[in-house]
Symmetry: C2
Subunit: 342 residues, 2 copies
């Protein structure tokens, strides 16, 4: 796969349709010329938005419209809508239509900044899970003072069994290797002490399973190891935790950097210095988090995603598609032919 | 209680006996003249250390030695020793002797930077628990862009029941009110969404119990709310979580501020500006974390505590004693006379 066709939800997120339409143009201006973006949503709304962007701020990007396809979808899912209601009641939503394109072989990846619960539910139903996967998991990229690390699960599953946590480790390794180019990606288990016997009941049992899993398991890592991407035993690429802990830490991280920047600004720090130094802590640089475990690619972007964040999410999606993330997941799960588009 | 006699473990922590002995002198130089410090440990070691400090860096603090009592304790607990071994095998440890002083009415509080597990075990056995308390909890102070907040539990209990989490809330409220002067302290429940139905199984049930507890419950708070000490519903004083999540977030917080400071330094930020702006994020400013639920006061300081951190821990201990923290806990637990020293 050298070209990727990325379907982008034109109606999802706090700043839709403006941010996704601009994000599509920006992504195409940076991606290789084989890639295309499929903007999915109400056709007239998306065409109007595209016209208005091209008449204004984004006029220089007009040449890239030739690589945008608009795919009509009449229903729009609300940010606060119950996932099951969205799944059952809106078969023509931009999410449903966008994900179905992959099933039909017309698209290679899907990105949305819309209702996360709905995206998880519709992705699972439309794409289905790899046959050995019990529950899909969200993998988030955490910036560190070294290379970024992959934290999985970041919020899809709150109460997890040890076997599920081991599966999250496999999914995270596939992602770190396919999309971030890590070799024999190493795995840390998030706990409250470095020794195997530290942690809660689920974590202690998971430690034993990971040690016997054949994965490159580095043992427990603690909260203090996350900002440096390394424990006393060395660096790690993937951190495994349940979605409750992962989500708390993710949201804390997203909020603590701006808080510290605020303290420094009050103390008279230079805006440009701050912006430059803290740039790579900005989650929008990483664009989106894949829902791992489905047969296909579904990238969850932050509800507050800007055009820049969605640009980066589309680029992550294109990279995941061309790197055959999904095929790699099948291999790591010990599946034979996964039936993926190659 | 207007004077406090604080017993300080002279042998505990990575920098003992130097840091505790210096911390005692520094604390006395800042506390009112009624307060005393009892340095507990090997008498000859402590006397030698005191002499050496007074002959060197701390010579100006010589007048304060008159308010230091040295209490001999022959055994020393190792940082890596198993708590049960320390408890059973070393009845004359500095921890055991220091805590027993409270039981005998000779001391009002105990502080140690030593083996945390041993301190929890020995505190529980020597001081015993309030009769309605099932498990003691560690309360940590988190700096925020507003006032600091109290996070409980920060590591004593990894698998908690909803009823235990409600008890942690009561303990945290007593601490926030007694020691931090909060009125009708408000409680947030750490979760992954603001709605009552968000969270894992234990958290969802805890939400219902807290809503009916009579406490000033503000609902769920998320990771992103911690750095500002407020959710969309307003500020909160106490955050309740199990000790696994609390410990992960605490250690992450302790490590992320230095990591960000490092990025800024690399970008050329001024050391003095950084130090000034980030000063109140330094955990050593808050000194120590009380083990709440025991009959008495036991303050757990970081193993890496400097003299300054131990100074602050002694001050926290003195404040907890004079504010009658333990009596307040008895009241909030609905106990009658707690038999505390008044």
């Amino acid at each position: 796969l050298t070209l990727a066709r990325v379907a982008l939800d034109g109606m999802g997120g706090d700043y839709a349709p403006s941010a996704p339409v601009a994000g599509a143009l920006l992504a195409l201006s940076e991606l290789d010329a084989e890639h295309r973006v499929q903007l999915v949503g109400r056709e007239s709304v998306l065409r109007d938005q595209l016209r208005s962007h091209l008449a204004g701020e984004f006029s220089a990007l007009a040449p890239f419209t030739s690589r945008i396809d608009i795919v009509d979808a009449t229903d729009v899912i609300d940010m606060a809508e119950k996932p099951v209601a969205a799944l059952r009641g809106k078969p023509n939503s931009s999410m449903h239509v966008g994900l179905k394109l992959q099933l039909e072989g017309k698209s290679d990846a899907f990105v949305s900044a819309g209702n996360t619960g709905a995206q998880m539910a519709i992705s699972t139903v439309v794409l289905r899970l790899h046959h050995s996967v019990a529950r899909p998991a969200i993998a988030t990229v955490f910036p560190t003072s070294r290379e970024p690390i992959v934290v999985v699960d970041s919020g899809a599953n709150v109460d997890c069994s040890p076997a599920e946590l081991v599966q999250f480790a496999r999914l995270g390794v596939a992602y770190a290797e396919s999309v971030f180019g890590r070799t024999n990606a190493s795995v840390g288990l998030l706990s409250i002490g470095e020794e195997a016997e530290k942690g809660n009941a689920v974590v202690k049992e998971t430690h034993q399973l990971l040690a016997a899993s054949g994965l490159n398991f580095q043992g427990n890592v603690e909260g203090r190891d996350l900002p440096k991407g390394a424990s006393d035993r060395g660096p790690f690429d993937v951190v495994v935790c349940d979605g409750f802990v992962g989500n708390v830490v993710l949201k804390f991280y997203e909020a603590v950097a701006p808080m510290i920047a605020g303290l420094l600004k009050d103390a008279g720090a230079d805006d440009k210095l701050l912006g430059g130094a803290l740039r790579h802590l900005d989650y929008s640089a990483y664009g989106g988090a894949p829902l791992l475990g489905v047969n296909g690619i579904s990238i969850i972007a932050h509800g507050k995603s800007s055009a820049r964040a969605l640009k980066n999410a589309v680029k992550v999606a294109a990279r995941a598609a061309t790197a055959r993330l999904d095929e790699h997941i099948g291999e790591l799960l010990g599946e034979g032919q996964t039936g993926e588009k190659a």
